[in-house]
Symmetry: C2
Amino acid sequence: MIHGMYSPRITALEVHDVRFPTSRALDGSDAMHPDPDYSAAYAVVRTSAADGHTGHGFAFTIGRGNEVQAAAIEALAPLVVGRPVDETLADPGGLSRELVHDSQLRWLGPEKGVIHMATGAVINAMWDLKAKRTGQPVWQLLAEMSPQDLVDLVDFRYLADVLRPDEALAILEATQPGRAERAARLRSEGYPAYTTTPGWLGYTDDKLRRLCKQAVEQGFGQLKLKIGRDVTEDVRRLTIAREVCGPIMRIAVDANQRFEVDEAIEWIQALAPYDVWWVEEPTSPDDILGYAAIARAVDPIPLAAGEHVPNRVVFKQLLQLGALSYLQLDATRVAGVNENVAILLLAAKFGVPVCPHAGGVGLCELVQHLAMFDYVAVSGSLDRRAVEYVDHLHEHFVDPVVLRDGRYRAPTAAGFSSTMRPESLVRYSYPGGEAWTEGG
Amino acid sequence: MIHGMYSPRITALEVHDVRFPTSRALDGSDAMHPDPDYSAAYAVVRTSAADGHTGHGFAFTIGRGNEVQAAAIEALAPLVVGRPVDETLADPGGLSRELVHDSQLRWLGPEKGVIHMATGAVINAMWDLKAKRTGQPVWQLLAEMSPQDLVDLVDFRYLADVLRPDEALAILEATQPGRAERAARLRSEGYPAYTTTPGWLGYTDDKLRRLCKQAVEQGFGQLKLKIGRDVTEDVRRLTIAREVCGPIMRIAVDANQRFEVDEAIEWIQALAPYDVWWVEEPTSPDDILGYAAIARAVDPIPLAAGEHVPNRVVFKQLLQLGALSYLQLDATRVAGVNENVAILLLAAKFGVPVCPHAGGVGLCELVQHLAMFDYVAVSGSLDRRAVEYVDHLHEHFVDPVVLRDGRYRAPTAAGFSSTMRPESLVRYSYPGGEAWTEGG
């Protein structure tokens, strides 16, 4: 194995606990999370390759416990450090299966919560590294892979009753012909975004009004309001938003898991006259049957969920029951790009549009790649699709998202847009960084 | 608040990473976990009270990642340390709700995986402390609480469509009359156990035969074999066990999440002629619809699950669909005693017997209390009920389980039987303890 001895290796998995004191301004306040401090358990993969590239990934959390998330990423270091770079990056499906199904670590999930998000952070960091080495943004790297290579990324375990590899291949082959035109259209027109910036519960009516007006001016076709504290308040805020935005704007609402099943049905029915585009997370993200019951009862009002759906197996069931009209994948909740490719394929199989969850810190940066890949190579459609956008914390990234006329511009820089500015890593390091020691 | 200043406080939440090198003997090997090192992220609650009692709880893991679990328990310390002891122990329902729904930590689950198990460890430690202070074993402490006080322990969030507080109260009131006789019967006869000791995949046929014989001699009425590596091998092992044990022994099998849905149906049907008492964990513990499909297809062969079911919301759905014939709650997977009271009530509502998961390290010690409480005060029945028993690692506990004639003797010592011997905490401390530095 002379070759192996000299081939570049992964030399380190470096972990940072980075937190932004967002709770000070009530940014991000919703019915269940009144005071989040947007945070990232941030991973950097280093190698001995001469190119000097590093791979960056992270798990998003909302403050307390980010150190637990960081510890979970560290627990994966022995599974990654020492691997040959070229071979590892050549088989991301194999890497993903090894990390997800580690016979001892899986007990901590299995495939859910802290350990699963940590796996996602590491897998996403490897995709960032792979894309940097090929000189492409991740969306394009994925969109240029052959259908068979894409199928090989996917862990089909527990999906066989709904999606087999041959079906996945057929979905990808059906979309293959139009890839080049769609990529070109994406580069010229961008991908639709919707904004949650106006919608936080902690904001005053004046601030809501001002931000709604801004959303219209910025060209957004959809916005989202948080609901669930008080139904009268929700109606008032919906009315304000509709007044300011006019009849064309799509207005979605988000309950952030606030309701019991029957309560959700009543609450949503009370909002029915106000022309709601979708209702997001009406109840526990684990309550698949609850979602189905709510969806049936409030039909035709569509439900959306995904940011807290732990893995492809739960998405599978939500789709099997027809409980979701919009699937909101999250870049850092599941086991990274690979599991999200599985989720995109499941959504395509059921004809459900994917409208990724974003916001937080860095989530917009990541999910834009997945949505664009979906458009070019999986669903082939922009119909009823939009990626969430929140105007927070983008300045901390080397390659931040670019919005124009309410649309995400297609990233052109190599990688996953996941690299945080080194000075931000230092300043927002918790608890020692200046942002925390100086109180701002 | 002069009173408050002098009232005893919780002064520390101490955390230990304890691991036993069980993989060296292939104890605990199954289809998904070939080489576990049984471990505990172990919590000790200390107070300033003059009685000197400490509360002990833990989350069970199988080795790698136990440090992540320990970090999660540490993350809960700020929510616990400094609290007044008396008030906190007087309202365990309130404490449980505060810990489970912490608005930032919940993002790490919600209510699943590492953070949820950590919450369980702390809540169980508080129950151990509470029971030590009242001088009772936990099963008895619970079994002597009024129906209303038991209802107040439960977090009914996301259960309203299936179990309301008034229904829970009615279940408990209906069972109240016979409590004293059942407690007396428990003290004299113990609670039925079943043994998994013979069943690990890593054992030879000779060892299987010897351990089956031993199980009969020890008076067990039920045993369990691991399956799922090879159906011919499973049939051979089932045949051996039946040969050795005779026709009366209940023989359950456990697939440890090994199968796809359709594969599970075929595999189970192949085992149908061999008189299987239940089939445990045929597929992903998240696949509620998959369980329901398997249950329908293999009817009347009963399914069992629970050790990886993350919370009461998932149990609720498995029960709603009639997918489980046996509910195997786990003492350290969910948020401790409080959530397990909810799960016992759900099972009672659906008339499904609870046969707790145990084994590992310390799980037998904990779950015996929950099963005995269920018998005395919730279900009121021993019919088709048995607590798992594995003959491993009990020697590390101050108040280990006592088996006689295949039955758990009712614990009499105060507490939750969760206190590990101090010398074991030192010797098996990872990575510095002698068990690890000396290789045995």
